[in-house]
Amino acid sequence: MNDMELENMRQQLGTLKKKLNEQEIVNDHLMRRSMRNEVNTITRRYYIIMAIGLFMIPYGYWCFVKLCGLSLFFWIVTSIFMLVCAGATYYTNHKISDPNLMNHNLVEARKKVASAKKFEANWLFFGIPAVILWMSWFLYETYQLHGGTFSNGLFWGSCIGGIIGAICGLSIHFKTQHQYQDIIDQIEDLTKGE
């Protein structure tokens, strides 16, 4: 075999590589599976939030009314707030919980994910003031209960609990928003040029 033949074979291999480099890999399935994993993570998180919200209704009665002696009205309003939170979470979850969401039209899927993201972002405008009001009311009730003074244990316990709750809540919120954005970016990558 002479050098010319070898060079010829190398050229043929180069031609093959050039042809292949011009091709795109149809990697749609891998991307879809990755997106489905992220959606499943968010959905699972939502189910836990809903379960905690509903559990807070009977637990709140025992804790606020029976244990701390707060008013029944406070518990009713707290329960309504919990139901609203669980309902809002259910509503958001409903938008993205279709198991075939990522198998359908990706433009439609993007719309649903973007809508869920927007709804959750807007929820903070209601959630944060509502929690501040609830916390103030809770402190006011405990203040009244102890004859116009703050019980040290209850006050500091509530403050620390409130701060930890706020940090956890905001961290979950931003994580979920980030995951939504991730899914949207991936859909945009897939639908680019369509």
């Binding site: 031609t15 093959l16 891998l30």
Partner: protein, 170 residues
């Protein structure tokens, strides 16, 4: 939940890195598969199988060797062993390329087909060596990929060249 969520995030990042690596080396992977196939279905099956094997080893690949060397090793091992077993299987994630080198009729494909016909007549192991040789890899690199000594590569290449020369004369 935190740990699970963290693992899932890591998985996603890994999947993206994998997709990027495959995209960068797709022509290398496809070339190996093409040289070990006889028709379009077989090349797609092999491509699929190589990707599955690359994915299985991707997480544990710690960049101790060059990624291209690793890809070659996995691709060639997969193609050689599948060629021996003549076994096909379907995989969960279906990835392929929208090209049919066995049916296209343009001049470039004709040239590629000539190379394919020539290499196909060699034994699978020799096919692997000649492919790496055509890629201008050193004897040492070829030896590392196929798992034989540099001297052995040199001896085999001499025989392969003789075989190719014989084919040209036929």
């Amino acid at each position: 939940m935190g740990k699970d969520s963290k693992n899932r995030t890591t998985m996603t990042t890994l999947e993206r890195q994998f997709a990027q690596t495959v995209a960068e080396h797709k022509s290398t992977i496809y070339t190996v598969c093409y040289m070990f196939s006889q028709d379009a279905d077989e090349v797609n099956d092999l491509f699929q199988e190589v990707l599955v094997n690359l994915w299985k080893g991707f997480e544990s690949f710690e960049h101790r060797s060059d990624i291209k060397t690793w890809i070659y090793r996995v691709a060639l091992n997969t193609c050689i062993s599948l060629d021996r077993k003549k076994k096909r299987r379907s995989a969960e994630v279906r990835l392929t390329m929208d090209i049919n080198l066995f049916e296209d009729r343009d001049e470039d494909t004709r040239q590629v087909d000539m190379l394919h016909k020539r290499i196909s007549r060699l034994q699978p192991f020799d096919r692997a060596i000649v492919l790496l040789w055509l890629e201008n890899l050193s004897y040492e690199e070829i030896g590392q990929i196929v798992g034989i000594s540099t001297k052995n590569v040199s001896v085999r290449l001499y025989r392969i060249r003789e075989q190719l020369k014989q084919m040209s004369n036929d």
